[in-house]
């Protein structure tokens, strides 16, 4: 028996070694192709000069990082509003009480309208339209109304994600909760929503990553954030490298964000579940 156990271990080990080798070999081939082929393109030297200029990169990068602080601010102050509004809309749409019919209709109209128009149009409409009402400072700031446009559109996307999550929780869970004497609201809060939210974390993160990128659209109505700053630098030096630098800055935040979520989801899964199928 010991013999068969060690044979199995050997087999597993050789299989792991083999997959590692295959992965390394295929990556090496792809990288080699890119490194060898791209520089052979006829205009590579000019693209290299205007998109991957090391000097311009080093010059722009700190300025872009500074401007990016505004993006991050807009991102972080929008999230709580988006989540709260989306949860309200999603739970309203899932309610069955006839009293709430007008609210339900409103919630449906809201998601339909907000989702049906491109984000950039909402930013223009709300960002230019509302300050046009002539409110006092700071209430005429395009920063505020640009953020409001983002919150309203993203809340409509996220509410649909929450709604799908809520509907994915089996009816028997509600039955069990109600049979224990919990009210509809308590059932929603303690039984349905926690399960729904756990299930939708990946699509939710997807929306947050795309929000992080769409924050740059607010620059179109004025505020100088990273995209705008990159545009300024590009025009000043007639070189596109600042855009590449801006892309790198975005990746610096979005990649850790998605990796962290995956890790959190995995940890939660391991904590609550039984054995896993290989």
């Amino acid at each position: 028996m010991n013999d068969s156990a060690s044979r199995r271990a050997d087999y597993e080990k050789s299989r792991r070694r083999r997959s590692l080798l295959v992965a390394m070999a295929s990556s090496a081939v792809v990288i080699a192709l890119v490194v060898v082929l791209v520089p052979r393109m006829p205009r590579w030297d000019r693209v290299h000069e205007s998109f991957f200029n090391g000097e311009r990169f080093a010059d722009s990068f700190p300025r872009l990082l500074d401007a990016f602080v505004l993006d991050v601010k807009i991102f972080f102050w929008s999230i709580p509003f988006i989540v709260v509004l989306a949860l309200l809309v999603a739970t309203t749409r899932n309610s069955r009480s006839p009293v709430l019919f007008p609210l339900r209709a409103l919630a449906i109209a809201y998601t339909d309208i907000m989702r049906g128009v491109p984000v950039i149009l909402w930013i223009y409409l709300i960002g230019f339209g509302v300050p046009g009402l002539g409110m006092e400072r700071p209430w005429n700031s395009p920063l505020i109304w640009g953020s409001v446009a983002l919150v309203l559109t993203y809340a409509s996307y996220v509410s649909e994600v929450f709604r799908a999550g809520i509907e994915s929780v089996h009816e028997s869970q509600r039955a069990a909760s109600r049979s224990l004497g919990l009210s509809t609201a308590q059932t929603m809060r303690f039984v349905v929503l926690p399960q729904a939210i756990r299930r939708v974390v990946p699509p939710l993160m997807n929306d947050l990553v795309s929000l992080q990128k769409d924050v740059a659209l607010v620059s179109l109505i004025g505020p100088i954030e990273i995209l705008r700053q990159a545009g300024v630098d590009k025009s000043k030096f007639a070189n596109f490298t600042p855009y590449v630098a801006a892309a790198v800055v975005f990746l610096l935040i979005t990649i850790p964000l998605t990796r962290t979520t995956d890790w959190l989801v995995e940890r939660e899964r391991r904590r609550t579940s039984g054995t896993r199928v290989r």
Binding site: S172, Q173, A175, A176, S177, R178, S179, L180, G181, L182, S183, Q186, F190, V191, P194, Q195, R198, R271, T272, S273, G274
Partner: protein, 247 residues
């Protein structure tokens, strides 16, 4: 006076009649088994008593009070009548202890410490003390169902409805769950169970009801009903059960 009384209860889903004038009296501390073919209305009857389904006609009384009155607040009633389901329906995102204490803390307003203490007592009593911190997916079916029973008991109900609670279990795990039910019966709990376990119904219940097509076609002492059924439908049903080797 009966603990639970059904008077001419009827229920349909669309044009399909599921319960067709069911009347039944369940005394305090009695154990009533509902048997009958699939679709005969056993589960629906239990769900109606728990007010999970509104009834279309008739009345349901708990301690003489009509609980089927439309517009009545169902939550206090459900706290007095516990229910356990065929597929356990534990909350997968909560540990065993959290599953059990959720309702005592949130619905009954018990403080967390005493709710935990009481839950641990109950787990101890049913041999699950070491599972308090586990999550439902880490337990066997039999353990999950026992936790579900403990969860229902933690609300301190006056009666317990058991809806085919062993039907999803491996045969070897059925015993541990039925032992729990026997103990409940001994402790004086009023029990109504929908079941396919004929042996258990015969040995443990005080009354057996045979349902068919939403009606009670035979009712009485288990010995009489199970060994000498009067109606032809009940005879056929029991014949099939005997042939399938379940009795």
């Amino acid at each position: 006076m009966s603990k639970i009384s059904l008077r001419n209860v009827s229920k349909s889903f669309g044009s399909h009649t599921v319960l067709d004038g069911v009347s039944l009296d369940i005394g305090t501390g009695q154990c009533v088994s509902l048997i009958g073919p699939s679709g005969s209305g056993k589960s629906t009857l239990l769900r109606c008593i728990n007010l999970l389904e509104p009834i279309d006609g008739g009345q349901i009384f708990l301690d003489g009070t009509d609980i089927s009155e439309p517009g009545l607040d169902a939550n206090p009633v459900r706290r007095r009548i516990g229910m356990v389901f065929q597929s356990y329906n534990l909350f997968p995102h909560m540990s065993v202890l959290q599953n059990i204490t959720l309702s005592p803390i949130r619905a009954l307003g018990v403080d967390k410490q005493s709710a935990n203490a009481r839950a641990l007592d109950l787990l101890e009593r049913f041999g699950l003390a070491d599972k308090a911190g586990s999550y439902p997916d880490q337990l066997s079916g039999g353990q999950q169902q026992r936790v579900a029973i403990v969860r229902a008991l933690a609300v301190e109900p006056e009666a317990l409805l058991l809806d085919e609670i062993t039907s999803a279990l491996d045969p070897e795990l059925v015993g541990e769950v039925l032992d729990v039910v026997r103990e409940l019966k001994q402790s004086g709990m009023t029990l109504v169970l929908a079941t396919h376990e004929m042996g258990f119904a015969r040995d443990t219940s005080d009354v057996v009801c045979v349902l068919d097509g939403g009606r009670i076609i035979e009712m009485g002492h288990p010995r009489d009903v199970l060994s000498a059924p009067q109606s032809e439908r009940a005879q056929q049903f029991l014949q099939r059960i005997i042939r399938s080797g379940r009795m």
